[in-house]
Point group: C2
Chain length 265, copies 2
């Protein structure tokens, strides 16, 4: 019946809004998600978690999820910071970092002396006037400014209200330097491709499951994957009328998606 679920060999799961809702003391699991992850693993399907989280190291992030009961390990997580580190090494780039304090350890092995690029993440309280001016000065001093942005989200919600996300500050620096950032993270094609490579599954045999119509669903589909939108997390009913992106299916939550997928195996 569910044609979209056929011939699947691997699943890519977004984390925030699919596995858990953030807020309060760090987050609460979405009903059925802990069990759903266990069932995927028991089924023999390949599984990779694909997140744009940049407020913590993968170690810290995984520990938080394990604390909620999820069966997850660091090697199963594709996140922007490690992907950025690979790019920095490949291109001999030495970053000036404008990121959250808790993300800094991800860059421990990267040479940061005499910077020849800027890496910007969701720096939150580190987005000060002084820090933004400093990142700008590093960029404008380059003949061709190199700005690497860990995602390009517009904003997100926390318990004390909406917050500007990294994309807004990326745009500020892009405009000031007359440059274009390289985005690492969803919806960048390379980012999905590296998650698929971790699983060893081609896009045609993989399904992305996320709550973000543009970054999760649209991004994965542009890589040739099928993509589901869950009606949890940041999902809004108006997403179902999105002018450009149409998921292969809607599901109420991760548990329902897993039910359908496992029935087809």
């Amino acid at each position: 019946m569910a044609a979209w679920a056929r011939a699947v060999r691997g699943l890519l799961l977004d984390v925030s809004g699919v596995l858990y809702d953030s807020g309060g003391d760090g987050g609460v699991p979405i009903a059925g998600s802990v069990e759903a992850v266990r069932r995927i693993k028991a089924s023999g399907l390949k599984l990779q978690f694909c997140t744009n989280e940049t407020q913590a190291t993968r170690e810290g992030f995984v520990k938080k999820l394990q604390g909620m009961g999820f069966d997850i390990s660091v090697a199963e997580v594709t996140a922007p910071a490690p992907a950025a580190c690979r790019i920095l090494k490949e291109r001999s780039l030495r970053p000036h970092l404008l990121v959250h304090n808790d993300l800094v350890p991800e860059f421990a092995e990267i040479d940061k002396t005499n910077p020849n690029c800027v890496v910007i993440g969701d720096a939150a309280e580190n987005f000060t006037y002084a820090n933004l001016n400093e990142a700008f000065r590093v960029l404008i001093a380059m003949e061709k400014p190199v700005l690497i942005s860990l995602g390009k989200g517009r904003y997100y919600k926390e318990t004390d209200g909406l917050k500007l996300d990294v994309g807004a500050y990326m745009k500020a620096l892009e405009y000031a330097c007359d440059a274009q950032a390289e985005v690492v993270g969803k919806p960048a094609k390379m980012f999905f491709e590296s998650a698929l490579a971790e699983m060893g599954v081609p896009p045609q045999q993989a399904i992305m499951i996320g709550d973000d119509i543009v970054n999760d669903v649209g991004g994965a589909q542009r890589c040739g994957m099928r993509a589901l939108q869950v009606r949890t997390g940041k999902y809004r009913p108006c997403d179902e009328n999105h002018p450009h992106v149409k998921p292969d299916a809607y599901v109420n939550n991760l548990a329902e998606a897993v039910d359908i997928i496992l029935q087809q195996l």
Copy 2:
């Protein structure tokens, strides 16, 4: 000889970089500029100062210039904040302000309760993470966000280094809200037109003199004015190869421009 100087009846002068250089204790007059302003006034030419300054009220700004010896009064200054106030009144807009503390008095007579728009200026130290999130929340709560920006400069130089200007923060909010700001100040056509209206001179009989190739020269020319670039202030030799904007003439400084113009009268 200087065809561009013929049939002129009014002059629009940019201020920072044309009359004085900022830095140190507020600024130093550019050689010959104090005398040049006096000579313009003695000649019978109409004169208006046209600035994007938004870190002080016009009163404070004029007082600083008078302290340097310039013959200038508040009524002779066209600045973004008073222009924004006219727009706010005309359209019954109640602003949430994200501006420099010293600019706030310009909005004293404007109703700011229950805001239905955001006005952003060069807020400098007021560009904090908390203040940017707050301005964003006001905008995103509107069905159609109204963002009025006092200029759209990329950056400027102070004695302690380069600083991001209002345009960068405008871009951040535009992206986060998926909205387009209305820019008040140079190079907006309406802004030049209001300065011309103050003088009662049509654009064909007016000359703009500024140090900014895009905001002063390009903006004024698009209004049908002639425009000179001075080789003072933020002028850089590479401006003379600008891909889109070509001034009607270059002059070494305001004094030289006034010499040539007065010879044609």
